[in-house]
């Protein structure tokens, strides 16, 4: 039997703890165990041999702590070589003819990946790849990735292993007592990603004793189609006169672990605190018990860092709004690198109940590969919804798939040979739920049967590559019914036919059906209802449309997926609240809506809603937008600003007024058709490199915008070169920099010097907690502001001086 066959059959025995035994042999606290492969090879060999003799089928090399981030590469190589030799020597010393294996052990690198930490994903992949290559070259039988407490790092290690060798790869994660990884993953979110990336076995080790780990292992058994492994600790550690002892005995440990075999556990061993005695007891407790045969759980799931969305049960909403097609404002935001707009669309759709978000950033003139990866990373930093990567560019798809944290939806492949050749291998390598469009190089067939034929062809090609049927969803393509009266009927027929013949899930972008027609949502929502009735798995739609969302939720309830109609009732009651709010206010509640005094008061008091409604009323009454700004809003802001400077008004009050003014500006801008956006000069704003504080910078932005400056906000942790690039591109007369820490002021000084040298027309103003007037002068800044109001006053002064020099 091959190792893979052993793993898939089970029970297969691993080894137990290494550290505990090394301490008993004299390893000092704080001393690195991996060094002992070189300094005490006999001890390491003896431990491996003891495990083999106790019944381990495979031992893990003493390489847990070996990592290129900790040791120079030559030292990594020496330690891996020595560790492998120890394991091989132990195996060679036994002559009983039993088959035994050696796995290269890989632990976490000790650093957190971005955005939580500082390590870049590809750097992590590169480091893990070096370890795998060294171990594989020494003759390891398998790679064992273990004790990983972050799903993203696990992905980096697994991807590195699959790219660097062809050995079986086992992946074991460490969970907290809350049943989650340290960075928030669960078995349901992790397993689909690991299986998609090609893990040969998955499971858990360390952290807890066997009983506490059992529920987590059961979650694995419920969703994993590959073999499940378990390597628990011997209970909880405690310090006893300088010695670490654990509270579960060998017999108790063995009984607890062996009890999981009838439930499907097939690879077992121990972690901290376990010894050869525990493995021997485990062998005896298992005896002749065999796990049930391995079976495919047939779960189609997309996942993120911490969430899983299962496809094929209740229908799923895929939010369509992050797509620049036909959206001028989004296209502009993408061109300017303004991710805030994209992130707001993501959160708005999440609030409306989207379960997956489609992400499409393709537009002429943009570097789609770079932009898609950046969008995916930034969206994943603020939401846990799984994403659907939507691009026709295979390079963009691959870059984004690599960095995606979880198992993504891949939108899309189709029946044309060139596209299948480019996209199917990506789906195989990185995993994902693949959306397949039923069209090919000859176009879109105009019959349901024609679309089925293409679906079957794609399915055959995908399965031949080893992509599972459960990971493919077909899109039978929505066409505008205005162009062809039979279009919707054909699509729905194709949907039913494909579902029946292939058993695969289906996806439709429903909005297209109404293209070219008036009252689009009216007919779009009817089509959505019909598609759901026909068995649609996931609808790519706009959840921010009441009518579309209403149709979706109603159909979902009618199809029996909403117990006690709870979701429907929630939606309906939210709708009635909105209707009441949107009803025209009675004249009594806003006695003098157009009265200017009222607007000034609303801004002073920070009443956002009232500021907007009073501005609207004033505009309706025929007042000029600019006049309202000059005579009401600016004076109110000035008054608040003076109060802030005199310390009679505090920061949150200042911000409330600024936001109320902002709401008033929006009304005026809307009335002026988006013209006269800014009345003053451009300012490039950023928090400097190395600094991630942006609260102060954001307040400054809000106030500067209130006062009519055209602010380009580059965000936080911005390198000097990027700031200079923006200053030059906009020929900005002012650049405003923020830094909060003494440790990031040098980056600020560097930026000031660079801007002065390369863009001598630009005045640089600075602010932030550690700065003072004197400190600002010392680093060469043209001005210092101690707070947000100060920044406005300073910008006004600098603007004047820029204009007259």
């Amino acid at each position: 039997m091959t190792l893979l066959e052993h793993l898939r059959t089970g029970p297969f025995f691993l080894d137990g703890g290494m550290g505990t035994l090394l301490q008993a042999a004299g390893l000092r606290p704080g001393e690195a165990p991996e060094g002992w492969s070189l300094s005490h090879p006999d001890v390491i060999t003896g431990i491996h041999r003891a495990y083999y003799e106790a019944g381990s089928d495979m031992v893990l090399t003493n390489t847990f702590g070996v990592h290129p981030l900790r040791y120079p590469l030559e030292q990594c190589e020496a330690m891996i070589r020595a560790a492998m030799d120890c394991a091989f020597a132990a195996r060679a010393a036994l002559h009983d003819g039993r088959e035994r294996f050696v796995a290269l052990d890989i632990g976490p690198c000790g650093k957190l990946l971005k955005p939580l930490g500082t390590l870049d994903f590809e750097e992590a992949v590169g480091c893990f790849a070096q370890i795998v290559k060294l171990g594989a070259a020494c003759g390891a039988d398998a790679v064992f990735i273990e004790t990983m407490n972050d799903g993203y790092e696990t992905k980096a290690a697994l991807l590195a292993a699959k790219e660097s060798c062809s050995l079986p790869v086992l992946v074991s994660n460490a969970y907290g007592s809350d049943g989650q990884l340290m960075t928030g993953g669960t078995p349901a979110s992790l397993v689909p990603m690991l299986e998609g990336l090609g893990a040969d076995a998955v499971g858990v080790n360390c952290s807890l004793g066997p009983d506490a780990l059992a529920p987590i292992v059961q979650s694995y058994l419920a969703c994993a189609s590959v073999p499940v492994l378990m390597k628990p600790n011997a209970g909880l550690p405690r310090d006893e006169g300088g010695r670490t002892v654990y509270d579960v005995t060998a017999a108790g440990f063995a009984a607890s672990v062996a009890a999981l075999i009838p439930q499907g556990l097939r690879i077992l061993g121990g972690c901290c605190g376990t010894t050869p005695e525990y493995i021997k007891a485990l062998r005896e407790a298992v005896g002749g018990t065999m796990p049930p045969p391995l079976e495919d759980k047939n779960i189609s799931a997309v996942t993120s860092r911490s969430q899983a969305v299962v496809l094929g049960q209740a229908p799923v909403i895929i939010g369509e709004r992050i797509n620049p097609t036909g959206k001028k404002r989004l296209r502009q935001a993408l061109a300017e690198g303004d991710m805030g707009y994209v992130l707001n669309e993501a959160l708005a759709q999440e609030e409306r109940g989207a379960q997956v978000l489609d992400v499409n950033v393709g537009a002429p003139g943009l570097d789609e590969a770079a932009l898609l990866t950046r969008a995916v990373e930034e969206i994943q930093a603020v939401t846990d919804l799984p994403l659907q990567l939507d691009t026709a560019d295979p390079r963009a798809m691959e870059q984004a798939l690599r960095r995606y944290n979880g198992k993504a939806m891949i939108n899309s492949v189709n029946g044309s040979e060139a596209v299948m050749d480019a996209v199917l291998p990506l789906a195989k390598k990185y995993g994902g739920e693949l959306v397949a469009l039923t069209l090919d190089e000859h176009g879109i067939p105009d019959t349901a049967e024609g679309r089925l034929t293409i679906a079957e062809r794609i399915l055959a090609r995908a399965e031949a590559l080893g992509i599972s049927r459960k990971d493919i969803l077909f899109d039978p393509l929505t066409m505008p019914v205005s162009a062809d009266g039979q279009a919707a009927r054909i699509t729905l027929d194709a949907l039913r036919l494909i579902r029946e013949r292939t058993g695969c899930g289906t996806v439709l972008g429903v909005s297209n059906v109404s293209f070219g027609l008036p009252a689009r949502e009216l007919i779009g929502s009817a089509f959505l209802t019909m598609a759901l009735q026909a068995g649609l798995t996931a609808a790519i739609m706009n959840p921010c449309s009441d009518r579309m969302l209403g149709a979706f939720l109603s159909a979902r309830t009618l199809l029996g997926h909403d117990p006690a109609c709870a979701a429907y009732i929630d939606h309906a009651s939210a709708l009635s609240v909105q209707t009441a709010a949107a009803a025209p206010a009675s004249p009594a509640s806003t006695p003098n809506a157009a009265e200017p005094e009222g607007l000034r008061r609303a801004v002073l008091k920070g009443l956002r809603g009232e500021a907007a409604s009073r501005t609207r009323a004033a505009l309706d009454a025929g007042q000029e937008g600019l006049a309202i700004i000059q005579s009401e809003i600016i004076p109110a802001l000035d008054e608040v600003g003076r109060g802030f400077e005199a310390k009679t008004i505090y920061l949150p009050q200042l911000m409330m007024s600024a936001e109320a003014a902002d709401a008033a500006f929006r009304e005026i801008r809307a009335a002026m058709g988006g013209q006269a956006e800014a009345t003053r000069c451009s300012i490039v704003l950023a928090t400097v490199k190395g600094d991630i504080h942006d609260i102060g910078k954001n307040i400054v932005r809000l106030l500067l915008e209130n006062y009519g400056f055209a602010v380009t906000d580059l965000g936080k942790d911005v390198p000097p070169e990027a700031i200079l690039e923006a200053v030059k591109r906009l020929h900005a007369p002012i650049c405003a920099l923020s830094a909060l820490m003494t440790t990031t002021v040098p980056a600020m000084a560097e930026t000031v010097a660079l801007v002065h040298k390369e863009a001598p027309w630009c005045k640089v103003m600075v602010g932030g907690a550690v700065l003072t007037e004197a400190y600002a002068r010392e680093i060469g800044a043209d001005g210092y502001a101690k707070d947000a109001m100060g920044a406005v006053r300073l910008a006004e002064t600098l603007e004047r001086s820029a204009l007259f020099t």
């Binding site: 606290p29 500082t118 901290c272 409330m656 936001e659």
Partner: protein, 200 residues
């Protein structure tokens, strides 16, 4: 895990509105207007923030010129004064976690004011967690009196001490807190501190 290191799950810290407003610099006497989106921010965060800490005990050795903290040496006068009379110290790192940072980013997208209030909630959460941890530590050392917390950046204690603290507590692996090259902590709502143990 090294048994000398203690990881503590501090759970959910109740959000105290008055404290949150204090961190947001809301004037104590001022009335709270209806439009202030505090309730909304608290709702966004409800049940999502779990605070964690890791701590370790060290012997303290005081010489003429410096302090041997067990994990680092320092010549800081202010820390020396703070730890006067102590023979041991407790070193900890406490965090409101990555979810808190995500909540702040999400609030910031709604408006800067939401962002300010969520920042304030984060500060209240991590400070509340530090209080809860220190109360638990005080119970674990009933024979001792604990000094107030003292963090890098206070007095003349350099921020660079963070490097030694992070390697001593293995913060990155134990509770997911990273120290950047510019000595910032991520997640942002995290605190490292030293507490002295005085015999009663």
């Amino acid at each position: 895990m090294d048994p000398a290191l203690h990881c503590v799950d501090l759970g959910l810290i109740p959000a105290e509105e008055a404290e949150v407003l204090r961190y947001a610099q809301w004037p104590q006497a001022a009335a709270i207007p209806e439009d202030l989106p505090l309730a909304e921010c608290l709702r966004m965060a409800e049940g999502r923030v779990r605070c964690r800490a890791v701590w370790r005990q060290y012997p303290l050795i005081v010489t003429e010129t410096e302090l041997d903290l067990g994990f680092a040496r320092t010549a800081s006068h202010s820390l020396k004064k703070h730890l006067e009379g102590c023979k041991n110290l407790l070193l900890f790192c406490c965090t409101a976690g990555a979810e808190m940072d995500r909540l702040i980013a999400r609030a910031q997208l709604r408006s800067p004011l939401h962002g300010l209030l969520m920042h304030a909630l984060g500060a209240q959460q991590v400070e509340g967690a530090c209080d809860r941890l220190c109360e638990a530590l005080a119970r674990s050392f009933p024979e001792h009196r604990l000094t107030p917390r003292f963090s890098p950046g206070y007095g003349d204690v350099p921020l660079s001490l963070q490097r030694e603290i992070f390697s001593a507590l293995d913060c990155e692996r134990q509770i997911g807190v990273t120290l950047t090259d510019s000595l910032l902590m991520r997640p942002g709502k995290s605190v490292t501190a030293v507490v002295g143990l005085k015999s009663c």
